[in-house]
Subunit: 430 residues, 2 copies
């Protein structure tokens, strides 16, 4: 088996070649599943490379009759100048997760037209303008009235339907085994989310000198380090559902009517709270960045209220939809809560309450960990980075950091998302 896997890997290495525009056209012509999406004539394609070139090539390919996006993984990622070797097999997990999640939630996951494992190449739906990356919309101060509803729908469906609440243990463990191989991506997360921010690490950075002491305080905070250890273990050990694995506001494309979740190359079976927390935590970051984007034309006060409302609605709608799915499928294949045991609506309701409370606290923990790492770790967010005045940026970041630290430490005290909102607002003063 090991030998077979090795051989397969070698073949894949042999079959791999990074595409440029010319070879891309040839590739499309030779691939019916892609050619068909672009219509008959493939001689007048418009091709635009939109990847940042550091992780993947991303080509938008347009013809008179159609469009596709071609995403090809490169065998490394590049951060802060250096490149880290990184398996191209992440494309396989990205394609697998897109296909699985689209099957569960077609409204919010783009279609995969074609996957070529040897080439680490995904051909998928072009998510057309006016879709933009949600993070950019949040920076611009654009309201998305359906965002909470859509993301609640996406999270409830992808998490519920890949958990033991819906699947037999046999099916669940098959999925777990499959995604164990995406371990390189999990290790990257471990390092940048759960380790580096809490130690002196080469690539850590912060808005210096303003936040130097804040970053040092994170590295010296025993209570924080005890909490992060627990979350890190849970992240690796607990195969609760098939996660997106990187569900921040840069992995979501939006218009006022549409929400599309992309880029699940970190997909693995992990704790549900990691996905939920990523989304909520990044909304809280967006909230704290708003003062840095306020100007005379727009003080962003109304927009901040909308963000808070979106955070609150996202959790509450997720909760509602998730429990609805649970009730709807309680007599299905899932073996976690067998009807003959949880045999009254009162008891099932108690079990659900316990489950959801635990999930809520996990989400708050992971969400605050994701916030912290964006302020004192390697990868920062454009929400703050785009605030040019470093002093103002640092002030926004500090409030977010202090808020996150308090949530991480005290997460088990929160009984509702409303209480979290009040907590967030309490940090929103200079």
């Amino acid at each position: 088996m090991a030998a077979a896997a090795e051989q397969q890997q070698q073949q894949q290495q042999q079959g791999f070649r990074p595409l440029d525009e010319a070879s891309l056209v040839a590739y499309i012509k030779a691939t019916p599943a892609l050619a068909a999406r672009l219509g008959g004539s493939l001689d007048a394609l418009t091709i635009k490379e939109v990847g940042d070139g550091n992780l993947n090539f991303v080509y938008i390919v347009l013809s008179d009759a159609g469009s596709v996006v071609i995403k090809q993984a490169l065998p490394y990622i590049r951060c802060v100048g250096d490149s880290w070797p990184m398996t191209r097999e992440r494309a396989y997990f990205e394609a697998s997760a897109l296909q699985k999640h689209r099957g569960l939630c077609p409204d919010h996951v783009p279609e995969v037209y074609h996957f070529d494992r040897a080439m680490s190449l995904i051909g998928m739906r072009y998510i057309e303008p006016p879709h933009i990356i949600l993070r950019k919309g949040l920076i611009a101060g654009v309201e998305y009235p359906l965002l909470a509803e859509h993301m609640a729908d996406y999270m409830a469906k992808t998490l519920f339907f890949t958990s033991l609440l819906y699947n037999s243990t046999t099916d669940h463990k098959k999925g777990v085994a499959q995604y164990c191989d995406n371990v390189e991506m999990c290790r990257l997360t471990e390092q940048v989310v759960f380790s580096d921010p809490y130690m002196l690490a080469k690539y850590n950075r912060c808005t210096s000198p303003f936040l130097d002491n804040d970053a040092a305080a994170v590295r010296e905070d025993a209570e924080l380090k005890l909490e992060i250890a627990e979350l890190k273990s849970m992240f690796i050990e607990r195969a609760q559902a098939l996660l997106h694995g990187d569900l921040h506001t840069g992995s979501i494309m939006v218009t006022p009517d549409s929400t599309q979740v992309i880029d699940p190359e970190f997909a693995f079976y992990g704790p549900m709270g990691y996905d939920i927390g990523a989304f909520l935590g990044n909304l809280i970051l967006a909230y704290f960045s708003q003062d840095g984007h306020a100007d005379q034309a727009n003080d962003r006060k109304a927009y901040k209220k909308w963000i808070l409302k979106t955070i609150e609605d996202s959790w509450n709608l997720f909760h509602k939809k998730f429990v609805e799915l649970w009730n709807k499928h309680k007599d299905g294949n899932g073996e976690a809560y067998l009807p003959p045991i949880y045999n009254s609506s009162e008891l099932l309701c108690l079990a659900q309450k316990k489950y959801m409370t635990s999930l809520f606290h996990d989400s708050l923990g992971f969400g605050s960990a994701k916030m912290i790492r964006r302020i004192v770790g390697i990868a920062h967010v454009e929400d703050f980075e785009s605030i040019e005045d470093a002093s103002k940026r640092a002030s926004c970041e500090r409030r977010a950091l202090n808020c996150a630290k308090a949530i991480l430490k005290g997460r088990r005290q929160f009984e509702s998302i409303g209480q979290v909102i009040v907590h967030v607002q309490s940090f929103d003063r200079d």
Copy 2:
């Protein structure tokens, strides 16, 4: 890959034939790894079948010059008359776990001489007399002065060295993926430990009519059902270490000087507390059964004290050895607690305390679940079954059941094993 696996499975089915004594001799002669253990002449072997014939054939094979045990898995298990189909692949996981655990703890795990996957056949060390099954020794009232020390050693080494405290995430996930395939055995555990005792199930039984109401009370105990759901999820989702998976007192062979752990066919990556709890819980069952074995010659009072002492020592020594291993290997490959983060002995000590407290509570939870299922579930223990007077047996069982229920519900309140011992004693009155 799926096709390859299927083909392999078919070949294995083709290669499988249950051995009888005659074909066993031929098999041994044709297998150098076994023949060598028995010395030159293989024509005067003494063969004894000691398996119960329901799960596996177990042959003891003796020659003038040596000995082996041959264990062959059958494609079903038989319980209460009916047979359940059960993959013979459990032999593969048993052999793998024996080999892995023996590498980590050679003093307490027998050597595997030979494994034949197609035949589901393990050739291993014959654990010679005066070794007996620990459970039988406990029923006979025999003290094993080194038992706690040996089992603490076994549990500390097998659990620590297969956890993220010692291994990289990459190695850990490889192991997790491998053992995901032993899912049929996990499902059996799920059913008989975490489900059936809490519902009306065909094979449940209890010492009737004495315990009928007690069994019904378990099925109607909402608090108990909420706790068992949490443990069940943890059992399936949490890949903390490579467990034995069935570490009761029937899986341990002892003399006063030697302790050998056998039969890990339920091995999988699960929560450490499941193994620890199985051992401690079965000792508590043995404790509560003693009054049923008392007679004029031996009131078993001193023996009961020895059992309690063994429970206390087992946990305390396990705790000591486990933390010692952690300290010894804290600068190794394990990535869960990186030295640059947990960078003072005080902080590491706090982290260990938190980890061990959580593990203690898990162990109490799983241990009490294992006790409950042995009283109102399908598979009972000889400790109680061998008490002929049903009324007396029921009285012993009821005290064990009530003790277990209270531990399961209140496990997070216990701060030391000493408190648990006091709690156990408090149920030891008629």
